[in-house]
Amino acid sequence: MSKFEFPKSIASRPVWGTLEVRPGEHHLMIAEAEGVEAVLAIATPDLMAKTHLIYIPKGTDYVERLQALKPAQFYEGPSYEASLQRIRRVLEDAHMGLQVYLTGSEGMMGQAMNEVMAVGLPHTAIQTEHRGSVARRMQCVHCKGITEDVEVDPFVCAHCGLNLFVRDHYSRRLAAYQGVRVDAEDHGNVPEPKGIYE
């Protein structure tokens, strides 16, 4: 599956990488939906024998292919939120040298990265690769509510109901892009939503 090429943007917008195998005794992989393709691209028997693999399907079905890789530990979580307690538990035991691989949507990678940093692992231990949905996790600057998986611009805030436009300004702390009322200077004049990269 081909990767989406994000257009060049401003300095706060994250730039995602390409996974590669790193040496290490312990590896943690979180693959969301098509992110599995990035795991399949680097998986070797030696690597997977030392890997705890967390898979969040989001409508995909890669279970058999992933189990065939024979990871040291395998978990299928129905959503990122549902997997979070487990991820935290795994990170609690993490030692320096743990290699972390995050792949899938921007929202999942951004949030998981914060969890990894929160336990004191260095950012250099984290690799990312964007795959699949280009939807964004958005914070409404007005009510502060987060709307997940936003695919269109403008969109309706899931919390306060305002029509927000999608900025490229991104907060790593919130793992979210910023949404700002689109019709603030002309109430009711809301443009027809279209895909964020259209």
Partner: protein, 355 residues
């Protein structure tokens, strides 16, 4: 010197006003008849008597009312003041810097009495007389940064310095030109400036960062920045943009003279002694078009700057739609005569409007 403090509002009925004194000392931000970004830093060690450059933290006639407005904003939205856990020491540094500066620069308004760590702070304009223990948070009603910046005009960004980078790790931000502390907290220098057009490509931020990383204790610097605001609204925050944005459309040829304000930020930078953080006070001054036009030099120059400003900047600064109306108004005050260099009003030497 004595200051007569205005009783005025920066919202709803907008009774904000500048006295003649305040107009003459307004920090007009254009030193020539055109504007482009630059790293326009100079040392902040005083300036002409009575100017906003004279003191380390300028106190003017708006002080008491601005502090009331800040308290209202914080009441509605406590997220405007935040400090990441490692920034408390920098907060104490800032408290000391402001208390020492104000008590030395305005001895009739502020007093600081220190006996070891037992400090007594007197703020006469705000009616505060408070004894506390320096470096003991339990003796203050707020954290040290919040406590002192509830008593100091302007926004404050407190920047941590590590890995040859500045990080926006604390701040008090209630009079901002449309940026969100809550969103930007924790970002590095390039990230929080990311939405600014053009300046990245021009290398402005790379050079500015290099300069700021090397600021030394006791050698603060300053620069001016500017934008436009309809109505003398201090709280032009993104948080409340869904409420105030519509005010931009209330401008008419009849009301533009008193409704349209030039918004100028006096930005200063001080190195803090214990934390090695950098504090970045962003002091906002507002002046209506009609008050600015009482200075002939500023009338001529403002027209030329706004007329020739690149479209991208007028858009970023949020007045592209109102620019034609502004120019209709401002052109009345431009007779084509040359202007003297520098920002000062030069009322004695510049000719009156000949039109």
């Amino acid at each position: 010197m004595t200051i007569q403090f205005n009783d005025e509002s920066f919202r709803d009925d907008y009774t904000f006003h500048n006295s003649d004194w305040a107009i003459k000392r307004f920090p007009f931000p254009f030193h020539e008849d055109s504007y482009m970004y630059s790293v326009n830093m100079e040392q902040h060690r005083g300036g002409p008597e009575g100017s906003v450059y004279e003191m380390r933290f300028d106190v003017d006639e708006h002080y008491v009312s601005e502090m009331k407005d800040r308290a209202m904003v914080l009441d509605q939205d406590p997220l405007r003041c935040q400090s990441l856990p490692h920034m408390t020491l920098a907060g104490w540094d800032l408290l000391e810097l402001i208390m020492v500066s104000k008590s030395e620069d305005y001895p009739d308004l502020f007093e600081l009495h220190r006996n070891g760590n037992q400090w007594r702070w007197i703020n006469k304009p705000m009616g505060i007389d408070h004894s506390f223990t320096f470096m003991d948070e339990t003796t203050l009603p707020y954290g040290p940064m919040e406590y002192i910046t509830r008593q100091a005009q302007g926004d404050f960004a407190v920047l941590d310095q590590r890995d040859e980078m500045l990080w926006m790790d604390a701040g008090m931000v209630t009079t901002q030109a449309d940026w969100s502390l809550d969103f930007d907290i924790g970002m590095n220098f390039f990230e929080w400036h990311a939405p600014v057009p053009k300046a990245h490509e021009m290398g402005i931020f790379q050079r500015a960062l290099k300069f700021l990383l090397n600021i030394q204790q006791g050698a603060p610097v300053r620069r001016l920045n500017w934008t436009m605001t309809v109505n003398p609204l201090l709280d032009t925050s993104p948080e409340n943009y869904h409420k105030w944005g519509i005010q931009k459309t209330t401008l008419t040829p009849e009301n533009i003279a008193h409704k349209q304000h030039l918004r100028v930020e006096l930005q200063t930078f001080f190195r803090l002694p214990r934390s090695n953080a950098l504090v970045f006070p962003i002091r906002c001054y507002l002046c209506s078009f009609q008050d600015l036009m009482t200075v002939p030099k500023w009338g001529r120059r403002l027209h030329r700057v706004i007329r020739d400003l690149p479209e991208e900047l007028a858009t970023y600064k949020g007045f592209i739609d109102n620019r034609p109306m502004m120019l209709d108004y401002l052109s009345q005050f431009d007779d084509g005569l040359p202007t003297s260099p520098g920002i000062w009003p030069d009322l004695e030497t510049e000719p009156p409007l000949s039109k």
